[in-house]
């Protein structure tokens, strides 16, 4: 589903990604863990064209986003197809404050996918129901708790019917109780065999939900494998014993 090869990215003198490769197969849940500043967010942002890589190749669902060996970035139309294959959930939710919960979920369906108002509304109510918030449809984001806002953000991504979901520390802005309700939703999605890439500091969650765990440090993938393998790695042990427990 997703294949990233030898991605490099630097900000001025700061080499943030030093040849990172990552693949996510269809139906697979991959968790990315690693210390702060190791480049996890940057990697994720490169995958959906929020940041541009300096080198490497990214393919999503058979579509090439960038191939530095062969022509660089794809054209506008292909970029758009890649973006639409992926749903993206931010740490800071980024709901649209001027729109109701319902319109947060319908706006892109109508404007981008050109769905009819009715169709968009129906799909929105389906996904809001899935995250347990259909009763909040007419409220504004500021009226919701952080956990509820993040669930709306997940619904907003789901409504676009992406082939894959990316989460960048979806619970880092939440207190433990709200973290649990959001993790439960993500776990539910994993059980539907969705393809997901989740950057997280929640070690227990990664261990339980991920098919594969990728440990990043200093802009490289230090080790990857099943949760058992990765959490047994000495470097990961040292890291996860410092990480906050849920």
């Amino acid at each position: 589903m997703l294949q990233a090869e030898n991605i490099t990215k630097r900000y001025a003198d700061n080499k943030v990604l030093r040849g990172v490769s990552l693949r996510v197969d269809r139906g697979e849940v991959v968790a990315v863990i690693g210390p702060s500043g190791s480049g996890k967010s940057t990697l994720l942002r490169c995958l959906i064209d929020l940041e541009r890589v300096d080198g490497g190749r990214i393919m999503v669902g058979g579509e090439t986003l960038v191939d530095s060996q062969a022509g660089g970035y794809a054209g506008k139309a292909a970029l758009r197809r890649v973006i639409l294959k992926m749903g993206f959930v931010f740490q800071s939710f980024n709901l649209f404050p001027h729109l109701t919960v319902l319109r947060n979920v319908t706006e892109a369906q109508e404007r981008v996918l050109k769905r009819s108002k009715r169709e968009a509304r129906e799909r929105a109510m389906e996904v809001l129901d899935k995250v347990g918030l259909s009763d909040k449809a007419s409220e504004y984001p500021y009226m919701l708790s952080g956990g509820q806002q993040q669930r709306v953000a997940i619904a907003r991504a789901l409504a676009m019917d992406p082939q894959m979901l990316c989460f960048d520390e979806p619970t880092s802005a939440l207190d433990p109780l709200l973290t649990m309700e959001v993790l439960r939703v993500i776990k539910g999605l994993a059980e539907e065999d969705r393809t997901m890439l989740v950057v997280t500091h929640e070690m227990a969650f990664a261990r339980e939900v991920a098919d594969r765990v990728v440990f990043m440090k200093e802009g490289t993938v230090r080790c990857e494998g099943t949760p058992e393998e990765v959490f047994d790695h000495p470097e990961v042990r040292a890291f996860s014993s410092q990480a906050p427990k849920p």
Binding site: I48, L50, M86, E107, A108, V112, M160
Partner: protein
Amino acid sequence: MKYFNNPDRLVSLLWQLWQGLGVTMSLFGFTLLFSLPLGLALALLRMSRHKALRLPVQLFILVMRGTPLILQVFTVYFVLPMIFGAAFERLTAVVIAFVMNYAAYFAEIYRGGVQAVPVGQREAAHVLGFARSQAFMRIILPQVIKRIVLPVSNEVITLVKDTALVTAVGMVELYRVARNAASTVGSLEPLFIAGAVYLLINAVVSFLFNRVNRYFSYYQG
């Protein structure tokens, strides 16, 4: 007391002020009508990724905000006809000068408003597949409007008072009528009446902007 105790004289003064007010309001109305959208265009150019678009606008804004409005009015009124030949209608000339000046101020207000919208909003629109222009119109602009209501109201209130500057090129508007009447009869009363009229206009402007501001309080953030 040369007017308030002389009904005939007062009525004729009020009639002249009324006509002057027409000129004042035309200048005010045309300036807003053109400078509000032109300011948005300038703001977009000012924020362009392309230097060739950004730099000239930056220079334009610097000059418009950095020199006296009255000098700009003179320039348009006297210098442009020298270049383009035909003389401008007086009102046209001052409207052009006012529009350029106010568009520059509005452009910077809009730019500030756009920058105050968190970058996450643009990013969320991007990952949902919005094109840049769609994201701007649907997601960014509505949030910008909420943020610029108060600074724009400041400019509009200033504009009401700035219209008095055009007496300098001989336009007979509210202030000029009052000043003429004051000096012919030797009384400050016409000027006070004119002052009260400016105040009244700005009271209405303030009221309207407060309504707009209240409208946008339906959401926070």
